[in-house]
Subunit: 456 residues, 2 copies
């Protein structure tokens, strides 16, 4: 049970909270879009944290700084680090949004906007929880805050910031809300995340587009060559062909396999909800949940070459490029996978074409210790707020900070995801159910209280 | 020798001609761009033809009508049909042009603009030749003119127009200048053209872009599937795998093989001029000229899927599409090839994806009779104007009207190409050497005169 004043702050003033959430969601803080929007979002959050009495500073790139906050309860009190991010995915393709991505709107209990789930909505739940706790008599817990603005572009500045502010960020435990329930009504704590290798391949042929009639059949076509390169990355069983790709992948433990069988996973309903007739990607003959959580994958994220306007244009394109990314598990190393890709592309670039591979910042896969006081506190807090005992799950996605906190600070985070699988994150029409934010803020408050007083 | 007045008109007034050519090139008559630019170009040409005393009418689509012109010398005189087109290729990618595509500029004796070669420059040469002839005492030859505005989009209205105006268009011979010299200094008459099958393949997966972490490995990726489809269209020897593709392809005649060996074809220089290290596309172990002229080919002309902006976006794209086209020879039928492609795509669309194939208007391959009075007249006229005996060549490109005139009217055209291979047609920085236009107009005038009086 939350103290009455805390409960009141969170549940009675929802209209006021919603107005502020809308204000935050209106800021188009796309990390790689340039401009001052990310800084604007950072300043908005810094002001809100300052108002709770926290000491706040901005550091990192001036146009997308991290927000660091600190509430000091006392040296004898335990310390928690809360991480979130305020940057969001690019909103395109814009034409598929039912309402503009940065004009938040509530429909049937859901708020629709880019970032409504990932991660501003979840950040907002923690923010108002801390406002409630610190505004209603304080908390016997040192709270440290790290809200970054580069999560969606691979957190390039984060390792340096963590190192630089090591003492300001160190804690006994960390909490991150940047994931989601296994299903609506099934609160979940995430205990493993896949890693990420992101690359861009460019094949260059002739110095400019050529007439495909005059030259067709006598000049290597970069688009055709790119297609062959990409096609060769999977074998007929859906396995990735990159040299050494599976070397560090271990089989799934029997205990996990059994636990996952009891999860309410309806493959057909999921397929229908995303508009496909079957969950057909990845390795053949493995259950979909294993492919998402326990197996690596490789996806083309974007393709571009030649003429893409309406009608016909008969050219041999001068270049063709693809963005692609691999999700990694166990001890797979994004750098090693990137190097393997580089070698593959080099070896398979046909005569008449030149190739280039650019590797973007990646993330290592991470497995978290679930048997810790803060994970127990998070489970209890989620059960209290949502009325259902949470399950332990994995995520196919990457939250690079999780691995950085583990590697740089020795901190295994409690991953209290507040989103729902149907929130369309990274896609048009991103949304979040408002109840998930309101009950999520109660869960966050309960979590901080339990850490402050483990006997509660 | 041209009559002095004709020669004077063509050579003394070049400055004035150039101003008018620039006026014509400024009109951005891209066939599939919408707007009134094509009509504007048609009206410009109609006015110029009317001024010579021709009877002129516009017919066909209102926004890109064909221009039909007729000069009546008398029922006893022979009749020639001159065909050209005023529509041009789309100019993108715009950023690769050294000067804007519709702001013609002369540099070092070349005029730079979209359409400067293909086909406005070549059309202009005939126009001023007819102005000279008809303005200097007339001509013992009925001249019929057909200038269309849909050549670059596959001439969808042309068969109907030819049928409708059958009597107005019929002739003893036809001439087309929409091709090029084999090399600078080597005038050429084209006696065979490849055909064209143009298609667009779209693969659709999930109903919107998905998070590639959450879903990666469990959802079929349309971009990956498209790459596999495209890669499968060629085997390891560069041969097209479509069922029945080579059924109607005949081996090259020994006489042609020998004649081509004596052509001044410098494979290395060509490779260097287009910026590649080798002419490496198409079927392995065949000479480049055979692959361009005597063999069919298949090229990807455009690719689009998912996120193509700067930086990273981790999605499984909802759809992926490719434009692709095949060049056809001998008796290959574009419709049959299109159907074979349709079946291939259907058979190879993986579970979890849906596919769609759209076939654009195509063109049949064509072989022209070179042993006719008008081809002999064209050879003599070219030799006279350029001072070198022309060679007989083929072209890898398609000029659909050639096949239509043959099939619908029984007319084998004389293809007096006036462009040069280095004119960058269908590419950024299209240009034409002004001398090719000026001497080309003399060749055109000589051609019409020879037809009027075969004994000349």
């Amino acid at each position: 049970m939350l103290p009455a004043a805390v409960q009141d702050y969170l549940s009675v003033r929802r209209e006021e909270h919603l107005d502020r959430l809308i204000e935050l969601l209106k800021i188009p803080s796309v990390a790689n879009a340039g401009g001052q929007s990310c800084r604007h979002a950072a300043e908005w959050l810094a002001a809100a944290l300052s108002a709770t009495g926290m000491e706040v500073l901005l550091d990192g790139p001036a146009d997308r700084p991290a927000v660091l906050g600190e509430y000091r309860a006392g040296e004898d009190c335990p310390t928690v680090l809360w991480y979130g991010h305020y940057d969001v995915q690019p909103p395109d393709p814009l034409e598929l949004w039912e309402s503009p991505p940065f004009e938040p709107i509530v429909r049937d209990g859901w708020i629709h906007a880019r970032g409504s789930d990932d991660d501003k909505g979840q950040v907002f739940a923690h923010l108002i929880a801390l406002e409630a706790l610190l505004g209603c008599g304080g908390l016997g817990l040192n709270v440290r805050v790290l809200l970054e603005g580069e999560e969606e572009i691979g957190s390039p500045s984060l390792p340096g910031l963590i190192e630089k502010h090591r003492r300001r960020i160190s804690a006994d435990a960390a909490v991150i809300s940047d994931s989601h329930f296994f299903a609506e009504g099934t609160p979940s704590l995430t205990v493993a995340l896949r890693g990420l290798m992101y690359a861009e391949i460019t094949l260059t042929g002739p110095s400019s587009d050529l007439h495909s009639g005059v030259h067709g059949g006598a000049v290597a076509n970069p688009a055709t060559a790119l297609a062959a390169l990409l096609a060769g990355l999977h074998d007929e069983n859906g396995r990735v062909t990159l040299e050494g790709f599976y070397d560090e992948v271990r089989p799934l433990a029997e205990a996990d396999r059994l636990a996952w069988e009891s999860l309410p996973f309806d493959e057909r309903a999921l397929a229908a909800s995303i508009g496909v007739d079957a969950l057909a990607g990845g390795e053949r003959d493995l259950p979909a949940l294993h492919r998402r959580w326990a197996r690596p994958s490789l996806d083309v994220n974007g393709l571009h070459s030649g003429y893409t306007g309406p009608g016909a244009k008969t050219i041999i394109p001068a270049r063709a490029s693809a963005k692609l990314s691999a999700r990694l598990v166990c001890d797979q190393d994004p750098e090693a996978v990137g190097e393997s890709l580089r070698r593959y592309v080099e070896r398979n670039t046909p005569p008449g074409c030149r190739s280039e591979v650019e590797i973007h910042p990646g993330a290592r896969p991470v497995t978290l210790d679930a048997d810790t006081p803060h994970v127990r506190a998070a489970r209890a807090a989620m059960a209290e707020a949502f009325g259902v005992e949470p399950v332990l799950v994995r995520s196919g996605a990457s939250v690079p900070v999780t691995e950085l906190l583990q590697r740089q600070l020795g901190l295994d985070a409690a991953m209290m995801g507040l989103g729902l699988p149907q929130d369309n994150i990274h896609a048009p029409n991103e949304r979040m159910k408002l109840d998930q934010i309101w009950l999520g803020s109660e869960a966050a408050a309960a979590f901080y209280l339990r850490l402050a007083d483990p006997l509660q």
